[in-house]
């Protein structure tokens, strides 16, 4: 596929429609993620942020529209081409998804052992460096069942960056972190991005922390991007949706509830009949 050298977009999401169990999740989603940037994707719980990352990673296919990563349309790739692309992608799962039969060290070493021909000595050094970066070098011998939720997520983060990918997708990297490790992780993501020339996509509810390091922010509500721009621009935005989200106000246009019938009717059992 010919690639425009001036094109600095690593990911292009163009007019994506996606429905799950008959319920539309995206209806015409457009966004562009440029190389070398830290991009935050924000939105209320259940808007489909995790779904978007799965679409980018090729685990789901859009019903309509295209997703192009590094010049290749993800949904059209065959299995081996898709795997080649994924080798250049690191993903931090919302659930961590650590392999429960391997200890912390082997989990982080897993992608290295699968995809590189490095010697065990080299792998050991690399793994210890990644674990040091997330502050868990001392926990290398623990099994995933012996980790707290926040620790497991940091191990998953170390694993996501083990292969020095071109693109890292972080799904809720800060959930369950205390303020200290949160600060460390925020700076780590920024530093990794700049030092290794990565592109980072962060999905997070921690608006302030994420806004502090993100170059670009997209706010997704109701299946489409309702606002995008720099952190400063969004904080200054007049849009009531964005204001409510950035300030965390309970009242506003963003619904807190999953679509449901009127509560009085529901409690009286009228909805069932």
């Amino acid at each position: 596929m010919p690639q425009d050298p001036a094109d600095d977009a690593l990911i292009r999401v163009e007019g994506v429609h996606f429905a799950r169990a008959g319920r539309p999740i995206f209806s015409g989603l457009d966004l562009t993620i440029r190389r070398g940037r830290v991009v935050a994707i924000m939105g209320p719980s259940g808007t489909g942020k995790t779904t978007l990352l799965r679409l980018i990673g090729g685990q789901l296919r859009p019903d309509a529209g295209r997703i192009v990563v590094d010049g290749e349309e993800v949904a059209r790739l065959g299995r081996s081409a898709l795997f080649k692309l994924r080798e250049r992608m690191g993903v931090l799962f919302q659930s961590g998804a650590l392999l429960t039969d391997l200890n912390v060290f082997d989990n982080v070493a897993f992608p290295l052992r699968e995809h590189s021909a490095l010697s065990e000595v080299m792998i050991r050094d690399l793994v210890l460096m990644k674990l040091e970066a997330v502050g868990l070098r001392g926990a290398r011998g623990l099994m995933p069942s012996e980790l707290s939720g926040g620790m497991a997520r940091r191990v998953a983060l170390a694993r996501a960056i083990a292969l020095d990918p071109m693109l890292v997708l972080y799904d809720e990297p800060f959930t369950g972190q205390d303020p200290i490790s949160m600060g460390v992780l925020v700076r780590l993501i920024r530093r990794l991005n700049d030092a290794m020339g990565l592109t980072s996509v962060i999905v997070s509810h921690d608006v302030q922390e994420t806004a502090a390091i993100a170059d670009d922010i997209y706010v997704i509500v109701g299946g489409r991007v309702i606002e995008s721009g720099s952190a400063a621009a969004l904080t200054a935005s007049e849009s009531p949706w964005v204001r409510q989200f950035m300030q965390g106000e309970p009242d506003g246009p963003v619904p807190f509830h999953y679509p449901a019938p009127d509560i009085d009717a529901d409690l009286l059992g009228e909805g069932e009949a």
Binding site: R86, E87, F93, A97, L98, L99, T100, P111, E114
Partner: protein, 259 residues
């Protein structure tokens, strides 16, 4: 009436879809097996989990089954004054039938259910999806070694079952009931044929191992990613493996010893 037909049709389609998925799954596993050559450790770990850990139940059951055969066979044979043939009876029952069949049933209960539960849980906790995102094919990395290990382990377990069973029969017949030691072994040696009996038994156990392991890994991989889905899949593994083993045993027996 139409409702009933509809339900039947849906059920039938569901069965064929599953069968199709199961076969595609098998082809993809088989295609991935050569990659295991460069990583024998993966196979060794699974051989331990599937084979070695099933040894205790196989040995203990084999011993008891052999002892019961010795007892029952003796009671029947002694009426005809033929108790010297006890060795033949015990060995033939085990090698032709009970070794492969009972070992396969135990294997499905012990190793098959564990395989299904393990793979199903890995799916439910997104470990398989995570591997895919790390560009590692779970069919090659997780399922392949387990499938091959089951396929290799099952005939060995069946052979061990039969061997231990023969000693169980010997212990009861010769040790307790006073059958002549030399007659027990020499009749067995004269009457049990390497090709006709032993090889056919081995073929059975290879087929059962293949089918039981295939069912176990497929049920795990195809399970709905929930606690309930995994528990149902585990049950299905045991039930379907047992039915498949018993059904295939009849077919194979008819083919081998039919005339």
């Amino acid at each position: 009436m139409t409702l009933w037909l509809e339900a039947l049709g849906r059920w039938g389609l569901g069965v064929f879809q599953r069968l199709g998925r199961g076969h595609l799954f098998l082809f993809r596993i088989l295609a991935g097996l050569p990659t295991l050559l460069s990583r024998p450790r993966l196979l060794v770990t699974q051989l331990h989990a599937v084979g070695v850990l099933s040894l205790v139940i196989i040995v203990v059951s084999g011993l008891f089954v052999g002892m019961v055969l010795g007892l029952q066979g003796y009671n029947t044979l002694v009426d005809f004054g033929a108790e010297e043939s006890l060795g033949v009876v015990v060995a033939l029952s085990l090698v032709r039938e009970l070794g492969p069949v009972v070992a396969a049933l135990l294997f499905a209960g012990r190793a098959g259910s564990a395989l299904t539960a393990e793979i199903g849980l890995m799916k439910a906790t997104e470990q398989l999806a995570g591997m895919e995102m790390m560009a590692v094919d779970p069919l090659h990395r997780v399922i392949g070694p387990r499938f091959l290990a089951g396929f290799i382990a099952m005939p060995l377990l069946a052979a061990i079952f039969s061997a231990v069973g023969v000693f169980g029969g010997y212990f009861v017949g010769v040790g307790l009931l006073g059958v002549d030691d030399g007659a027990f072994w020499s009749q067995m040696q004269a009457k049990v044929d390497l090709y006709e009996d032993v090889y056919n038994g081995v073929i059975k156990s290879v087929v059962f191992g293949f089918v039981a392991t295939w069912i176990a890994v497929f049920e795990g991989y195809d399970a709905p990613p929930t606690a309930e889905g995994v528990s149902r899949a585990t049950t299905r593994t045991v039930v379907h493996s047992a039915l498949a083993v018993l059904g295939l045993d009849f077919v194979l027996t008819a083919l081998m010893f039919g005339e």
